[in-house]
Symmetry: C2
Subunit: 150 residues, 2 copies
């Protein structure tokens, strides 16, 4: 099941890729239903908060009619940054499934782990490495395309 949902997150990432955005995609699942999805639109929307995860969380909270996404799982192709890890805490998502690691900005284990901090009022269960190869490859392809374009 994790692979199936990560495939859908990858589909979102490909939408970002095709619009010259860093290719990250996310979906949020609650009770077996997709309640939110998103892909990075930072350049398109000229908005530094328009990461895939934030867009998916906004959609999911509108779907559920409240800001608490308890019982939800987020699938994301690349490890969330500080802002997105913070948004995951803020929305009370219970489980996070990650494709590729984010060695520079990732805040779910790579540079630090915000989701397992005893100071905060919420912790998140993390699974790494689902479709890691594909999630990592699309990032490499994107930066190669960007270099060739310049």
């Amino acid at each position: 099941m994790d692979e199936k949902y990560m495939e859908l997150a990858l589909e979102e990432a490909y939408k970002a890729f095709s619009t010259y955005e860093v290719p990250v995609g996310a979906v949020i699942v609650n009770n077996g239903k997709i309640i939110g999805k998103g892909y990075n639109k930072r350049e398109t929307l000229k908005d530094p908060t328009a990461h895939a995860e934030i867009i998916a969380i906004k959609e999911a909270s509108q779907y559920l009619g409240g800001w608490r996404l308890l019982g939800s799982t987020m699938y994301v192709t690349v490890e969330p940054c500080a802002m997105c890890a913070g948004a995951i805490i803020s929305s009370r998502i219970d489980r996070l499934v990650i494709g590729a690691k984010g060695p520079k900005m990732g805040c779910c284990g790579s540079t630090m782990n915000l989701l397992d901090n005893p100071n905060f009022n919420h912790r998140v269960d993390i699974t790494f490495g689902i479709l890691e190869e594909e999630c990592s490859q699309i990032m490499k392809d994107f930066f190669k395309k960007l270099r060739n374009r310049k």
Copy 2:
């Protein structure tokens, strides 16, 4: 000047207070001009990302026509959480002026400091304690009001 802009952030916080939202307000200043402001609307918008800082950052990036808020200063009545500190990094805000500390969720020095992390590609200059008393008092008044209401 810091007190003048923090007064405006406090005005935003009072708008949150009057709508039964945790009273946090923020303004963003660039070249002496207010380019974004916001107050917490988490309950009103049913959106876990609708903190004062995120709303102000979205407005400022629309104003400047791009996601980089270089040269900008954010004034916020309460120390930003992980999500908002991450958004401040993501938007390349240069300076952050804080009213009251956030001992439970604050990520700019209280529980940790995300804005001075050598792993990340951006650091932020922080000033604490501007109108601290007022920024702290409105929070106390709010939670007292909330307890009385229950």
